[in-house]
Amino acid sequence: MEQFVVTTIRLSVPLIFAGLGGLFSVRAGIFHIGIEGLMLAGAFVTVAIGSALGSVWLGIGGAIAVNLLLSWVYWFLIDRLKADMIIAGLGLTTLCVGGTAFLMSAFFNKRGSMTSQVRLPQPVVGPQEGLLAYVSELSLLAWLLPLFVLIVWLLLRRSRLGLQLAAIGEYPYAAEAAGVNISRSKLYAMLITGICCALAGAELAVGGLAAFSENMTNGRGFIALAAILFGSLDPIRTTLAGLFFGLANAVGINSQIYAGASNVPRQFILMLPFAATIFFVTLRGYASGRNAPRVS
């Protein structure tokens, strides 16, 4: 049971970091499909720089720097050059899928996957045996999650940027008329998304496993995006949605381990988060009526 809870948390943490980060962009009216790619870039750069320099913190710092650059490029393309955000977002993700695999091969001479020389500290040491032993598997970022959620909540609800984003999302013309620099707010939102995706990727790669493998995000960025919609663009509900998706994933994984415990094929359990997302997005779309502003 405790193992199950810990597995759920470990699967949820990257989703929540990416989801809350993506929330800034989505609130600014950007349906940020590139989150998937940014997470992957974050995971790779953390492992690559962290291993090369022997410090997980330098690795994460590098991941944040790379993601800030990528986020700026994406902002420049869709805001200044009016590129289509969905197509360019898919392109950003493909670029990161190809780029991380390419750089791993070019600079580390590894194909498929590489082990990391560094990992995040796991600050709480549980008892060696017994049910509570699993808590020692949680990384520092997992323990910092509540603080992170609080910071995001404060940023969105209390900061100037957060309020501007809310205005842009609800009434862009009114916001502009009131003197909000929409372009710049979008840029800030996307940079925050980039930073959070770097943390999400770092947790994924060096939170428990200490390894990077090609395309290791495997759709988690898209699920994080779904968690945002599932959470109705609210930070607390997005967090809960991330936990729910982590739970569904943990159930899927565990049904694999405890084969025979249920007759439902594990693929159907793994479908749950996706099906639930469609259901909830539909419910929300229906409730918002035909004239409501679209998310994407």
């Binding site: 009216g29 950007i30 349906f31 499909i33 490029v73 994406y74 393309l77 050059l81 009016k82 590129a83 289509d84 955000m85 969905i86 197509i87 360019a88 898919l90 392109g91 950003l92 993700t93 493909t94 670029l95 990161c96 899928v97 190809g98 780029g99 695999a101 390419f102 750089l103 091969s105 070019a106 600079f107 194909r111 862009p172 090609e214 759709g219 898209f222 995006l225 779904a226 919609l229 094929p265 693929q267 159907f268 793994l270 479908m271 996706f274 099906a275 997302t277 469609i278 997005v281 539909t282 929300r284 779309g285 229906y286 918002s288 009526g289 035909r290 409501a292 679209r294 998310v295 994407s296």
Partner: protein, 345 residues
């Protein structure tokens, strides 16, 4: 289209830029750029059998992109071609596996129909949810892609399982040779004829039919379309069904053609590349066919490249990603308004 030249440049500038950036990265990483270029040329065009390989990948890309043209012109962002393709493959593999004793003249049309229906249904889910429930099609088609992958995984490890396969390569048993439309090369007269028919059908539909005009109007100015009394919901639903039908047909041809069975991890990037193909082709049928040949060549080169250079094949994914990233950006002149360039924020 004011000027054909300007329009082609609009597609060619981002591609050239993507190649330049990609090759700059290859050079910076210490690869021999001349050797990579030579390898690309060989893998796509010059080496024995490479043209055939290019065509093998161009055919499914072309068919899927035809459906994407139809949706993007209507202003709908159906990015679920990947899932529709897979479910189409599932619909196609059913008849040959369940009715092996019937003659090919019955089973092959059934399989093609199964593929078309499978793809159309999968796309129709997203379409129906969008039209009747105002549900976001981008997120829904993305989610349906993942559900499709899991569904295929279940079929190839459960009901339709071939015991000798597992993991990424888990697949259904091979279908009988008499039901195949091509050998593993993926190029045959039958496949070519089907693709030509599909392209003609799409061209007539998009350029010469009332539906084509109406859907374009719905995409570019929905209000005008509503004032004209067009039945917008019906046009939207038809759009989704058609897009899914094309993707499903491509999935069926994959099963009846080069693959000969339904494989779990097959063609994971085809649906995405087809979107790029449609946009590079400027949402026109002839343009998309040309772009499909180009990206088919690139795909063939990706598979060939490891033989002649040490450049990892992921290098060409970078170029593909850069093309998608840059292709809708307005570099020099303002783009004509069309459905692909309109952000719907």
């Amino acid at each position: 289209m004011r000027s054909g030249l300007a329009a082609s440049l609009r597609a060619l500038v981002p591609i050239a830029l993507a190649f330049a950036l990609g090759f700059a990265l290859f050079a910076a990483s210490g690869y021999d750029v001349a050797a990579v270029l030579a390898g690309l040329w060989q893998g796509a065009v010059a080496a024995p059998g490479s043209l055939e390989q290019s065509l093998r990948w161009a055919l499914p890309l072309a068919i899927v992109s035809l459906g994407i043209i139809i949706t993007l012109r209507t202003g709908e962002f159906n990015i679920g071609a990947q899932g529709q393709l897979l479910v189409g493959g599932l619909g196609a593999v059913a008849a040959p596996l369940l009715l092996p004793d019937l003659p090919p003249a019955i089973v092959i049309p059934l399989a093609l129909l199964g593929g078309i229906i499978g793809g159309a249904l999968w796309s129709g889910i997203a379409g129906a949810l969008k039209v009747w429930f105002n549900s976001d099609e981008v997120i829904n088609t993305l989610m349906l892609n993942f559900i499709a992958v899991l569904l295929i995984q279940w079929f190839t490890t459960g009901p339709f399982k071939d015991d000798s396969t597992r993991g990424e390569n888990a697949s259904t048993p091979r279908i009988d040779l008499s039901f195949r439309l091509s050998d593993s090369s993926g190029v045959s007269l039958e496949l070519l004829v089907i693709v030509v028919i599909a392209a003609l059908f799409a061209w007539l539909l998009v350029e010469r039919s009332p539906f084509g005009l109406q859907s374009k109007l719905v995409g570019s100015s929905p209000r005008v379309a509503a004032w004209q009394g067009l039945r917008i919901r019906r046009i939207h639903i038809l759009t989704y069904l058609l897009a899914g039908a094309f993707a499903g047909l491509a999935g069926a041809l994959e099963v009846l053609g080069p693959s000969g069975r339904l494989v779990t991890g097959a063609t994971p990037t085809l649906g995405f590349t087809a979107i790029v193909v449609a946009i590079v082709g400027l949402l026109r049928v002839p343009g998309a066919l040309l772009a499909a040949l180009f990206f088919g060549g690139l795909q063939a080169a990706i598979l060939f490249l490891p033989i002649v250079t040490n450049l990892p094949s992921s290098g060409l994914r970078i170029i593909e990603g850069l093309v998608a990233l840059l292709i809708t950006a307005q570099f020099i002149w303002r783009r004509r308004r069309d459905s692909a360039s309109e952000s719907e924020a």
